[in-house]
């Protein structure tokens, strides 16, 4: 009996570690992409707002990866996990590593992600694991604001000039095939769902669909058909972009192993 409990706890721990890496890696990689805009945004207010969003996401990365390291129990810190894993070990959604493109594409990526982020964090606030609920509580305050902002810009640019509408439609069409992955369940999701620690990904889809459909309609944009969806990020099969993100992000830690900064 005692052995069974230990085995079960170990399975949950591995599943939980995977889940926490996903949350942390999404925040880290999207935060990185947003920070690439620094000083190059189309208006000063946008520079400020993007830096603010990136800052929130990096803060959330510290919390999720910090907890991941704790759960893993091998003494790895949030920084170790962020800076010393290779691309195959990253668990972020492919959507977050898509290149920035023009500002419209960055905002569309942000909106599609924020809508999911908002829904998943809302569910996580009720997690049976108090540590997860606590992080979700803090992060969802920030993400409510991210969603409010990205949603508003998608609507304003969609229902703006002919050019801004065309750009937003193109961004939506390009990014849409990367949204299905948000709702794909991996084997590690089942025990977490059963234990009430984290929602089953599929369970988030209806709310996300409604949020997105409502905003796209107001934005006068056409929701693409749900055709083929790319996936792999949650299992560490990424696009070629992630390798370059990590080459940049991890440069100092890799070039000067063991140095403290």
């Amino acid at each position: 009996m005692a052995t069974a409990i230990i085995v079960e706890a170990a399975v949950d721990r591995a599943a939980l570690f995977e889940f926490l890496l996903r949350m942390g890696d999404n925040a880290l990689i999207l935060g990185h992409r947003l920070s690439e805009w620094c000083g190059h945004a189309p208006a000063l207010e946008e520079d400020i707002a993007l830096a603010n969003t990136a800052l929130d996401l990096i803060g959330q990365t510290q919390l999720w990866l910090g907890l991941a390291g704790e759960v893993e129990g091998r003494g790895r810190s949030a920084d170790d996990l962020a800076y010393l894993r290779d691309a195959r070990e990253f668990r972020n959604l492919l959507l977050t590593e898509r290149p920035n493109g023009d500002y419209g594409k960055t905002m569309m990526r942000q909106f599609l992600f924020d809508a999911w982020h908002y829904v998943v964090l809302k569910a996580l606030r009720a997690s049976s694991d108090a540590r997860i609920a606590e992080i979700a509580e803090k992060a969802s305050k920030e993400v409510s604001y991210h969603l409010e902002r990205s949603r508003d810009l998608v609507i304003r640019l969609g229902d703006g000039t002919a050019e801004s509408q065309a750009r937003m439609q193109e961004a939506l069409d390009d990014l849409w095939p990367y949204t299905g992955e948000m709702f794909v369940s991996e084997t590690s999701d089942e025990p977490l769902g059963a234990a009430g620690m984290a929602p089953e990904p599929q369970s988030l889809k209806a709310e996300w669909d409604a949020l997105v459909a409502e905003a796209l309609s107001e934005a006068t944009l056409k929701k693409p058909a749900d055709g083929h969806m790319h996936k792999g990020g949650k299992r560490g099969i990424h696009t070629e972009h992630l390798g370059y993100i990590l080459a940049e992000l991890q440069f100092l830690q890799r070039a000067y192993p063991g140095a403290t900064w």
Binding site: S35, D47, I48, I58, Q62, D79, G160, A259, T260, W261
Partner: protein, 334 residues
Amino acid sequence: MYAQMVKTDAARVKSLDDMAPEERAFQERIDAGQKIEPKEWMPEGYRKTLVRQISQHAHSEIVGQLPEGNWITRAPTLERKAILLAKVQDEAGHGLYLYCAAETLGISRDEMYEQLHSGKAKYSSIFNYPTLSWADIGAIGWLVDGAAIMNQVPLQRCSYGPYARAMVRICKEESFHQRQGFDILAKMVKGTPAQRAMVQDALDRWWWPSLMMFGPSDDASIHSAQSMVWKIKQNSNDELRQKFVDQTVPQAEYLGLTVPDPDLKWNEKKGGYDFGEPDWKEFFEVIAGNGLCNAERLGARRKAWDDGAWFRDGLTVHAEKASARRAAKTAAAE
């Protein structure tokens, strides 16, 4: 100092007796330490000088995002990344307050951008130097923000109300920036030999450009004299430079670094350091557009503006549509 060599249009500094009654009353208020507010009468030269100085200051904050932004994606830890993001976000915020302060003088932000993009308006020479290592991010906080603070603390007492008030807020944030820069370096000098070498190299490259931030000696400058009478400027460039050197050299010693100036020596009599002359030829080349990064910095700002035109137009047109829809709804209801 984010504003360098600001012109005043003055041919000479007038005495009170030379002034028309309106201008004399204005000067007497300044002499009495009163603040001038946007709607009040002011000489055209005062207004123009402030527009030049405040916009140059704002442009410096905005262009200044670029050399530091260059390392945000490569910051060595999550905490350093978050701090640097917060700092660069502050700089953009400073740009925003300053553009707003300049707008109270009857110029729009778009006009100021146009002056920046056309090369008519300047920004501080310091931002045309490259950030080549992580230690440069420390050096910018420590030296560049340190030099900026020297200039900005007295500007809190500037005669123009909106500028003085913007400075109060900016100064608080700048001292946090300077500490974070110093902290980056303090950590690195306690690290590996490679890290220590990186810090010394950063000081070697940033020391002289930082001293140049104060501008050449302005003891004989009519523009500086006029700005002082108007209380837009409070100290001479040499005074501020001396203060900066006196404050910074002991900090360099604390870090175990060598200041790259063979003429640097404590002068007991004056109670300050004697130091060498920056290479003013290099300074004027950088001001003229020939620094290593001038073309890239200005190019990046122009590109951000041009590429963003569709975005700004989209928002404007949406606002017009939304307001027309609201008007139609109100009309239908009546």
